[in-house]
């Protein structure tokens, strides 16, 4: 049976190890944004042993390229982008202390294995619900790579940001479980 949790960042392994695929989580605190281009830069820094623009330990990375904010607002619409494009980078992020990712769509086996090995969670947010999700973000600040525009790394403060556990620390995958349940075989 799916449970609902409230979690505050930074996450701990105690937080992530209690979650199961299908659980709903309302996130609070600070999360960081990064898409393809930013991931490449971050992983290059890790491999070169250099300092990152934020502390990875217990962090959640949100795969998002928001629309520009209207005057007086922290951010525009901000729903998840498709996650598989980050598959080649995510295991390195998890290995170095990050404990969560937010995106949409399936991940490869290497990411699922890394979630198991390093107690990471892959959360799904609702793709195409950018207006709703943008309203759950109370502050946003570009902290690295402003030249990437919508792909820059942003530090976000979120309040009750709704996500669903897709890949948990036990190797479960909600996409496989959910689809198997409703697939009709002739």
């Amino acid at each position: 049976m799916s449970k609902t949790y409230n979690l505050t960042t930074p996450l701990t392994k105690e937080d992530t190890q209690k979650l199961k695929a299908g659980d709903i989580v309302l996130l609070n605190g600070t999360i960081y944004t990064a898409r393809d281009a930013a991931h490449k830069k971050l992983v290059d820094l890790i491999e070169a042993g250099e300092e990152l623009p934020f502390d990875l330990i217990g962090s959640i990375i949100y795969f998002v390229g928001p629309t520009p904010p209207k005057p007086g607002e922290p951010i525009g619409s901000a729903g998840p982008t498709t996650s598989y494009r980050m598959d080649s980078y995510s295991p390195t992020m998890l290995k170095n202390g990050s404990l969560g990712m937010i995106g949409k769509g399936k991940r490869n086996q290497a990411v699922k294995d890394a979630c198991k090995e390093y107690s990471g969670i892959y959360f799904g947010a609702t793709g195409g619900a950018g207006a709703l999700l943008g309203k759950k973000i109370t502050s946003a600040e570009v902290i690295a790579y402003p030249e990437l525009g919508p792909e820059a790394v942003r530090k976000l403060t979120v309040k009750d940001f709704p996500v669903t556990v897709i890949n948990d620390t036990f190797g479960n995958d909600l996409y496989q479980i959910g689809r198997a349940k409703y697939e009709v075989k002739d």
Binding site: G22, P68, G79, G105, K106, G127, G149, P150, G178
Partner: protein
């Protein structure tokens, strides 16, 4: 010969872009509502409810429906008895696109293919628009517009079958494309299928098929039947909303079929996410 002012085209295009960025069209809203009412998976039903709330927030607060505000895609049927005064039609469409995307705080999503440099300060804000022109009878300009997101475009596919593949081969191919895509293109989907013509004609037809009103019946009874059959097959896949499992994976299948070469059976599958932002205007 009717004369149409360049600036009037710019304004009309700008307005349609602002409208589509923030207001989900009635056909898409109704289709998601129907899917919500019919869905058996509690998780999928909850997410479909979120999509309806999202559409309401976007409309009420003039916020973009989705952060992927798409590439601007146009099918433009230009009446042979009209002309643009003060500039080129293509330039007017691009100018209106840029103004609309900027004014509504939509995202600039065009980039150079290899350096990935954003084109907003060089070519223009979310430019160039993708424009398909045709010349038709009359003195009006018919514009069909859609904001096309990247996630669903990324899973679209095309191939050229030998004629023996027939309808069965096409249905199997569409099933494979949607099955492989899973939750990545943000289901529930509209699936555009272009059949026949040449390689590129099938592709353009599959795109154009997505502009049709969701839930409308194909004028060709044979294609209407095939659309219904494919929809049933795709919903058996169990992918569900956002891939989380469910019985509502596809809102509609739209087919456009064309005459083709005696040696070929081209087929293209263009996928549209649930945020089907499209409109039709007459200038």
């Amino acid at each position: 010969m009717r004369e149409i002012q360049y600036q009037d085209v710019v304004t009309a295009i700008k307005n349609v872009i602002i409208h589509c960025g923030t207001i989900l069209p009635d056909d898409a809203y109704k289709a998601i509502k129907d899917a919500h009412d019919n869905e058996k998976s509690p998780v999928a039903k909850e997410v479909l409810a979120q999509l309806l709330i999202n559409a309401d927030i976007a409309k009420d607060e003039k916020r973009p429906l989705c952060q992927d505000t798409g590439l601007a895609v146009f099918f433009v049927n230009v009446g042979a008895d009209c002309r643009i005064i003060g500039g080129l039609l293509r330039d007017a469409i691009n100018e209106g696109t840029e103004q609309g995307y900027k004014d509504a705080y939509l995202r600039a999503s065009t980039c150079e293919p290899f350096s990935r440099a954003n084109l907003k300060d060089t070519v223009g804000y979310n430019l160039p628009a993708i424009i398909h022109f045709d010349i038709v009878a009359g003195d009006k300009i018919e514009v069909e517009y859609a904001a096309k997101g990247g996630g669903s475009e990324n899973v679209s596919r095309a191939t050229v079958f030998p004629p023996a593949a027939g309808k069965a081969g096409i249905i199997e191919y569409v099933k494979q494309v949607i099955s492989d895509a899973g939750g990545n293109p943000c289901p529930p989907l509209t699936v555009g299928v272009g059949i026949g013509g040449t390689f590129e004609k099938a592709g353009i037809s599959s795109k154009h098929a997505l502009f049709r009103t969701i839930g409308s019946v194909n004028k060709d009874p044979e294609m209407a039947e095939m659309e219904a059959e494919i929809k049933v097959e795709l919903n058996k896949l169990g992918i569900g909303t956002m891939g989380m499992g469910g019985i509502e994976t596809v809102l509609a299948v739209h087919i456009e079929s064309n005459p083709c070469h005696i040696a070929s059976l081209p087929v293209s599958v263009n996928v549209q996410c649930h945020s089907s932002r499209h409109a039709h205007i007459t200038i």
